[in-house]
Amino acid sequence: MSSRRSRSRQSSGASRISDDQIADLVSRLQQLIPEIRNRRSDKVSASKVLQETCNYIRSLHREVDDLSDRLSELLESTDSDSAQAAIIRSLLM
């Protein structure tokens, strides 16, 4: 019974409800992405937000990769025990 009701809701009224939900979520995404947040304009289109989101995630992935490269080179160049100890020490201070 309830499944029939939800299926009919899906085709008509649900689209309005989910549009509002989506708009709210998109505005929250806007806050999170530095590109858009710094531009200080209230009206950014959904597709623009999505595009910037994808670019931002890609750049974060790239940065994790670069940092992993950098760290592996650093740990390689010095004795691993002392490097780890030095890193941990500098973190706790």
Partner: protein, 196 residues
């Protein structure tokens, strides 16, 4: 507003500490199990430990973190399994295996949902709003590829997961960057000392 910001900054700090602890744990496990590592091995170890660590800070409460864990357990060789167990504990590693079945089931459900939606008719009027919708759909498809586990989510779930995923990635990048900078300084200091 200020209280909320303070709360979020202190919870972000806690998250960073948790990520850091788990990441270093995983790294130490790697260096204990594999004495000889090439630079590439080391880099993959660093990256893998970081990914496992940041996903585990979510405690299996988000789809993306479960998807990351499922991927890790798929491409597992002996040492990454040990790292996962070290960070999560043996019980949770078994949960990962169960979550693979959950992912399979949700994939079937999503497939069925998509089939139902396709049978509800579509009009082909190319109004400006329709073009905008196409663009949104296209970008959503790209986003689905970027967020782990995204292919099985509907739009609302996808955006919610993206919010959490981006916040976690920011924590991961922040901590890794701080460590890399600190390590840089340390190396410079020690080389200066050795030159004196």
């Amino acid at each position: 507003m200020k209280a909320r910001m303070q709360n979020s900054s202190s919870s972000a700090a806690l998250l960073k500490q948790e990520f850091l602890k788990k990441w270093i744990n995983g790294l130490q496990t790697y260096t204990n199990t594999k004495k000889e590592m090439t630079i590439l091995d080391r880099k993959n170890a660093i990256k893998l430990s970081a990914d496992i660590a940041i996903a585990s800070t979510r405690n299996f409460s988000t789809n993306w973190s479960r998807a990351v864990m499922a991927d890790v357990s798929k491409n597992v060789d002996g040492s990454s399994k040990i790292v996962t167990e070290k960070i999560l504990g043996r019980k949770e590693t078994c949960i990962i295996k169960c979550s693979k079945n959950i992912m399979r089931k949700s994939r079937l459900l999503a497939h069925r949902r998509r089939a139902i939606r396709r049978t509800i008719g579509r009009t082909s009027v190319k109004a400006a709003s329709a073009i905008a919708k196409e663009l949104v759909k296209k970008r959503t498809r790209v986003l689905k590829r970027l967020v782990p586990g995204g292919k099985q989510m509907n739009e609302i779930c996808l955006i919610k997961e993206t919010l959490d995923y981006i916040a976690s990635l920011q924590v991961q990048v922040d901590v890794m960057r701080n460590i890399a900078n600190a390590a840089d300084h340390q190396c410079l200091d020690s080389t200066e000392r050795s030159l004196l």
